[in-house]
């Protein structure tokens, strides 16, 4: 049954396709420009924005406190110890990077597949990528304890000790994967924003706004020649970002898969990590998009269609993740290796087994049974809840992978347990605050929906072939 049969009178249903519209009817170039520039250029910042920004900012302050104390005392303030030397830092690192991946998927992979519906959500999904990478990259860096001393073994540069890094280690691969990912994400995001910054420059009333946006727009004037090179450049960047995003989580999974720990040393890790990353990333897109579209009344640009499609992507990637969990257990059984077998048993029924069941509930049992329903996928409240649950579940997935394998490995005499300290929690919650703070600044100061891309999918953008034939007369 098509959506139009359920809601025949709804203006948001396109009568031609019977599906939800990507953009509400009645929008023109001018109305889209007005609506989106007003959010940024208004001198009256909404009170709700200040409230949210203050709240997020104070949570981010907690990160500052936690990291300052860490630098003064060392990583001993965290719960990491032998045998669990990775703990929260790596769990959070993998979780944050994963969240970033949906942004690149939306902006790059869906661009290559010519999925026009992505246009209105791609900018803030890319911003989400960027801020998630900022939070993620912080963890391995502060995990080194004294990051100012870590530079010489992380980056190949001529130093007075005549020391050079060790390129056979997956941790070095990480450095290059994550730094490349961050750089390319910034370039892609900024290049995508240049035409919109030009719009802001031209629409800004204040001299200061004109100057700042003018500098940032780099003199963009919308020349047709520029646009053609710009389009090529965006396609190339999308084509490069696609293998990049797949490689980043693959390289991160190598940190685990190259080690010989039971439960880590499997070939399923790269695809299973990438699918999990996209799963949690789309959940985060929903977590952000739903309140933003409500607060700024953007329901006509970020429509139910977008939310529905995000739900569908989550359903598909969720099943890949479920397949990964099954393979994990099948591998333990098929390997006929008693340590692998014990690890699987320990993961599910051991002292940390509760975390496994949380992840099964929040990644598999709840979302993958309910996301099938179109009615639920088009229900905003349900999607918001499911997005929070999936993000929690994906965090627990990394917790399970890192902690249960490390607490009980080959030698029972070296078994241990893991308990995070308040500094671990403060650092983690602090990065949530930092992420939200950056996001608040972004939606206030930069165009969160790409106007130039929205204009392309408006009905007014269609070239009238008949008129062209009639008047063109070659």
């Amino acid at each position: 049954m098509a959506t139009k049969d359920i809601l025949p009178q709804n203006p948001m249903i396109d009568p031609e396709t019977g599906e939800q519209r990507v953009i509400a009817p009645g929008h023109t170039f001018r109305s889209v420009t007005d609506k989106l520039t007003r959010i940024v250029l208004t001198p009256h910042t909404p009170l709700g924005w200040f409230f949210g920004f203050a709240l997020a900012g104070s949570i981010a302050m907690m990160l500052l406190v936690a990291v300052t104390w860490l630098f003064l005392k060392g990583t001993g303030i965290w719960g990491i110890t032998m045998p669990v030397a990775w703990g929260f830092a790596i769990i959070n690192f993998v979780w944050w990077i994963g969240i970033g991946h949906a942004g690149t998927l939306i902006s790059a992979i869906l661009l290559l597949f010519k999925q026009k519906w992505r246009n209105s959500i791609n900018r803030f999904a890319e911003a989400m990528t960027l801020f998630a990478v900022v939070c993620a990259a912080m963890f391995p860096v502060i995990h080194t304890g004294r990051p100012w001393l870590a530079i010489y073994w992380l980056f190949p540069y001529p130093n007075t000790m005549n020391y050079w890094p060790q390129f056979r280690s997956p941790l070095m691969w990480d450095v290059f994967a994550v730094s490349t990912y961050a750089t390319i994400s910034v370039v892609f995001w900024y290049i995508g924003m240049i035409p919109d910054l030009g719009t802001l420059r031209d629409r800004a009333k204040s001299k200061f706004g004109r100057f700042i946006y003018g500098q940032m727009a780099l003199g963009w004037r919308g020349s047709a020649r520029h646009w053609m090179r710009y389009e090529t450049s965006c396609l190339l960047l999308a084509g490069l970002a696609t293998p990049l995003v797949l490689s980043v989580h693959t390289v991160i999974s190598f940190d685990f898969a190259v080690a010989i720990m039971p439960g880590w040393h499997t070939t399923i890790f790269p695809p299973y990590f990438v699918a999990g990353a996209i799963y949690s990333g789309f959940a985060m897109v929903l977590t952000l998009a739903i309140p933003i579209r409500k607060f700024y009344h953007l329901e006509d640009l970020i429509t139910i269609r977008h939310l529905d499609n995000c739900g569908k992507v989550m359903l598909a990637t969720g099943f890949i993740v479920a397949y990964g969990y099954m393979t994990d257990i099948a591998y333990a059984w098929y390997s006929a290796d008693k340590w692998e077998f014990f690890m699987a048993w320990n993961r599910i029924f051991g002292p940390m087994g509760w975390s496994y069941w949380i992840l099964i509930f929040s990644n598999i049992a709840f979302p993958l049974t309910t996301l099938w329903s179109r009615r639920l996928r088009q229900n905003v409240a349900y999607l918001f809840i499911v997005s929070l649950i999936v993000n929690t579940g994906m965090w627990f997935e990394r917790f399970v992978i890192v902690v249960t394998s490390l607490t009980r490995d080959y030698l029972p005499s070296s078994w241990g347990t893991y308990r995070a300290t308040r500094w671990d929690y403060m650092t983690f919650v602090g990065t949530l605050g930092l992420f939200t703070t950056l996001f608040f600044l972004f939606i206030r100061l930069l165009p969160m929906i790409p106007m130039s891309e929205i204009r392309q999918i408006l009905p007014g953008a269609r070239i009238n072939e008949a008129e062209l034939q009639h008047k063109g007369g070659d």
């Binding site: 023109t28 170039f29 001018r30 420009t33 190949p156 020391y163 890094p165 060790q166 390129f167 056979r168 070095m172 290059f176 994967a177 490349t180 750089t183 390319i184 370039v187 892609f188 900024y190 290049i191 035409p195 030009g198 420059r201 031209d202 629409r203 003018g214 780099l218 003199g219 004037r221 919308g222 020349s223 047709a224 520029h226 646009w227 053609m228 090179r229 710009y230 389009e231 090529t232 450049s233 190339l236 960047l237 490069l240 970002a241 293998p243 990049l244 490689s247 190598f254 130039s452 891309e453 392309q456 007014g460 953008a461 070239i463 009238n464 008129e467 062209l468 008047k471 063109g472 070659d474």
Partner: protein, 183 residues
Amino acid sequence: MPVREGIYGLLAEFDTPTELVVAAKASYNAGYRRMDCYTPYPVEEAAEAMGFDEPKEKAVSRVCLLGGILGGLAMFTLESWISIWAYPLNIAGRGKFSWVAFIVPAYEWTILWAGLCAGFGMLALNRLPAPYHPLFNAPNFRNGATSDKFFLCLEADDPRFSVTDTRSLLESLHPVSVVEVEH
């Protein structure tokens, strides 16, 4: 650049992309070559109407390819040099030139430099950043070129350009307005 004075070109404003494409085609057919269209979003037909074909020109793609090749080679060479000569490490007796492990950073740098070249190469080919441009002097340009209007500018450098004839050509194409743009 020397300070230039006088007229930069004639700027015609249109309401729809179709009118712009028609006008660009007509001007091209009338023999004008030094011209450009200005649109708030990419209009491929406008570029084609002026005889500009980026896919054929391939400048951005070439820069990108070159960047990628150089980036990948640079990283692979650096890794090999470090691991064989500069700081050889004996890791469980494995060979010093363990090139399989070097692929990952080299792969990342291929993408890094290809991406940087695609982005910055595009800006350089477009002669951006260019904070000043004569078109910003036109009274109606900033009001619409980046939001909802479509412009065609026939530039004074063109040998066929004459203030009167060019203006009458543009006016015959039913624009909203035609204005002179000063340098």
